[in-house]
């Protein structure tokens, strides 16, 4: 059993990492967080490359790091695989994989045979004699993963292994990871900036922001109910914080009838709804003052409001229209943008169906 139990406190200048995490044996935990949140520091602390100022790293009850002592990387049974896989350039792919086995005392012939087997498992049969520079980026990541898994580590740490790869290659490596990670039953921690990785590979998801875990739980639950603005951005939903008075939830120009649980909640309440649920139409008036006059004449129904376009962003699916007050996103097909003549500053009427909105009381 090699469940991972981490409480990592690392202070580096003004940055402070104080993260509490746990992963059950054989499970994959995804870590997501904005740049500079301390994701790489966390992995380096678990790998034993940096010391803890406080806390502990335990694997299967064995203490690898504490405030006072830490096991050297060699004796931790933890392998860290970075974006740059650091394959040894002077060794062939086969020798790279055999390296870890040799270090663990496996005889050379067995190590090389095992390396060939691993090459086959990661989808690279017949490349054993190639040197890293002869391999593509995706192939290098595959060899690096084989090299890491061949030593049967208790814990595998992956630091953005797919970030440097083009989407197609990344998807291939992701599929290979999805196949191999459950097969080897190694407890894995995966740092990624792509919700697809978390959804496809991980059992749990933890959000790390400003050095602290802001939310963690099963991937589905975290993505369905993000607790922070970053989590909402990752999950691709609008998360707007408002207040409830007399059963009406309000944030800026947007007013919605509050759900029963939200209506009785004290303090702030977050409303969640997907950008694709919102419908958008232009007004007869193209100026803001004109729009307000029109809006004043015909009172809007629930879930309907007038907003001003803040900016337009191209997405793979169309155009994401960001509006102000409250700041939120609306997904619009690109042809509709042309048809309606959407531009920054143009007033639009937005409508969000009430059954797509979920309220989460923030309890403050």
């Amino acid at each position: 059993m090699s469940e991972l139990d981490v409480q990592a406190v690392v202070t580096r200048g003004v940055h402070r990492l104080d993260a509490v995490l746990a992963a059950a044996s054989g499970q994959t935990l995804a870590i997501m967080g904005p740049s500079g949140a301390g994701k790489s520091t966390l992995l380096e602390a678990i790998a034993g490359l940096i010391r803890l100022n406080d806390g502990h790293v335990r694997v299967g009850g064995r203490e690898l790091s504490s405030k006072r002592r830490q096991l050297p990387p060699q004796r931790r049974g933890v392998v860290l695989l970075r974006q740059d896989p650091h394959l040894f350039p002077h060794l062939t792919a086969r020798e790279n994989i055999a390296f870890g086995l040799r270090a663990h005392g496996t005889a050379k012939p067995q190590a090389l045979t095992s390396a060939d087997e691993w090459l086959w498992r990661v989808g690279l049969p017949g490349t054993g004699d190639q040197r890293p520079r002869q391999l593509s980026g995706g192939q290098q990541q595959r060899v690096a993963l084989a090299r890491a898994l061949a030593t049967e580590p208790e814990v595998l740490l992956l630091d953005e292994p797919l970030t440097a790869l083009d989407p197609e290659t990344a998807s291939g490596v992701r599929a290979m990871l999805a196949e191999q990670l459950p097969a080897v039953r190694t407890t894995t921690m995966l740092v990624t900036h792509d919700a697809v990785d978390a959804a496809a590979l991980a059992d749990g998801l933890a959000l790390l922001e400003g050095g602290r875990i802001t939310q963690s739980g099963p991937v589905r639950e975290v993505l369905a109910a993000p607790a922070t603005a970053f989590g909402a951005a990752v999950a691709g939903v609008n998360r707007i914080v408002g207040t409830v008075t007399n059963g009406v939830w309000t944030a800026g120009e947007l007013r919605l009838p509050a759900s029963r649980s939200a209506a009785t909640a004290a303090g702030e309440v977050a409303a969640l709804f997907p950008p694709s649920a919102v419908t958008l139409e232009t007004l007869t008036e193209r100026t803001w003052t004109g729009a307000l006059r029109v809006a004043g004449q015909a009172p809007s129904s629930a879930g309907e409001w007038i907003a001003r376009i803040d900016r337009l962003v191209q997405t793979p699916l169309g155009v994401r229209v960001h509006v102000a007050d409250p700041a939120l996103a609306v997904d619009v097909p690109v042809d509709l943008v042309a048809e309606l003549g959407l531009l920054t500053g143009v007033p639009v009427r937005l409508r969000v169906p009430l059954d797509t909105v979920r309220f989460i009381p923030l309890g403050r």
């Binding site: 860290l80 040894f88 002077h90 390296f99 270090a103």
Partner: protein
């Protein structure tokens, strides 16, 4: 000229070709002049004379020992500097560079003051019956003194550029420190090590100043090739022809070493940072 070649040549001002050619001439022409002065009729006799052969043998032997000593001391020193914190590394690097920029004569004087009869270590060693100045050991020490910085700086540069990423990867895979050093660090630094060894050996073979002061000029004991050339050239009854012949021999030896190294290319010498 095709446009591709023009692009590959970059955008260096063309007028710089003049000093470049002058510089090249300065390096090559004197050597040609040297070859021009060779008296081919007596060349074989000059080279195979017992004095010349013993000087050559002594030079090669001492330079090889000195190079080995440089490797034994220099590799750990280069590792120490390359893995030290930036400020410590700068101080250490400066300390290593001093003998490099110092006139070798000064090095010879310094060695003499350390190991000489009235020096710090000389009397202590003397009690054990060991006397270093004006022995073959002194030649090796003088050569090591002037050659060591070349090896250390060449290797240290490569070690630092390669970084610790590969070592960290190896450690995480369970490799111990010695395995990491022998299987990862040194193979990756092989280009620097080879360059360092070549420079080191060349510097040791050509060492004159420190050797002359610290080891003297005793034929068969401390008279290496450079000293033999100097002696022959300065007269002492011998014709300058001997000096020229010995110089030619040293030149050929140097070119031979270079060719030997060019022919031997360490495996995986192209250290590329893989993405």
């Amino acid at each position: 000229m095709s446009p591709v070649t023009r692009t590959e040549r970059g955008h260096v001002p063309q007028i710089l070709l003049v000093p470049a050619v002058l510089g090249l001439a300065l390096l090559i022409v004197p050597l040609t002049a040297l070859v021009g002065r060779v008296e081919w009729s007596t060349l074989w006799a000059d080279i195979t004379s017992p004095a010349a052969l013993s000087a050559l043998a002594l030079s090669v032997e001492t330079a090889l020992v000195a190079t080995a000593l440089c490797v034994i001391l220099g590799v750990p020193l280069a590792l120490l500097i390359a893995r030290a914190p930036a400020r410590t590394a700068a101080v250490l690097r400066a300390a290593v560079t001093v003998p490099l920029v110092l006139p070798p004569m000064v090095g010879g004087v310094a060695l003499l003051f350390l190991f000489g009869r009235t020096g710090w270590l000389g009397p202590i060693l003397g009690e054990f019956g060991i006397r270093i100045p004006f022995t073959t050991t002194a030649v090796v020490l003088a050569q090591t003194f002037v050659a060591l910085p070349f090896l250390v700086l060449a290797l240290e540069g490569t070690l630092r550029t390669t970084g610790v990423g590969y070592e960290q990867a190896a450690a995480a895979l369970g490799a111990g420190r010695w395995r990491i050093l022998l299987r990862v660090t040194l193979p990756l630094a092989a280009p620097g090590l080879v360059a360092g060894v070549v420079l080191c050996f060349a510097r040791a073979v050509g060492e004159f100043g420190a050797t002359a002061l610290f080891a003297g000029n005793a034929p068969g004991v401390t008279q290496t090739m450079p000293l033999a050339i100097y002696t022959a050239f300065n007269g002492a009854g011998v014709s300058q022809g001997t000096a020229v012949a010995l110089s030619l021999l040293l030149l050929v030896t140097a070119i031979g070493v270079l060719l030997l190294v060019r022919a031997w290319r360490p495996d995986g010498r192209q250290v590329s940072v893989v993405r």
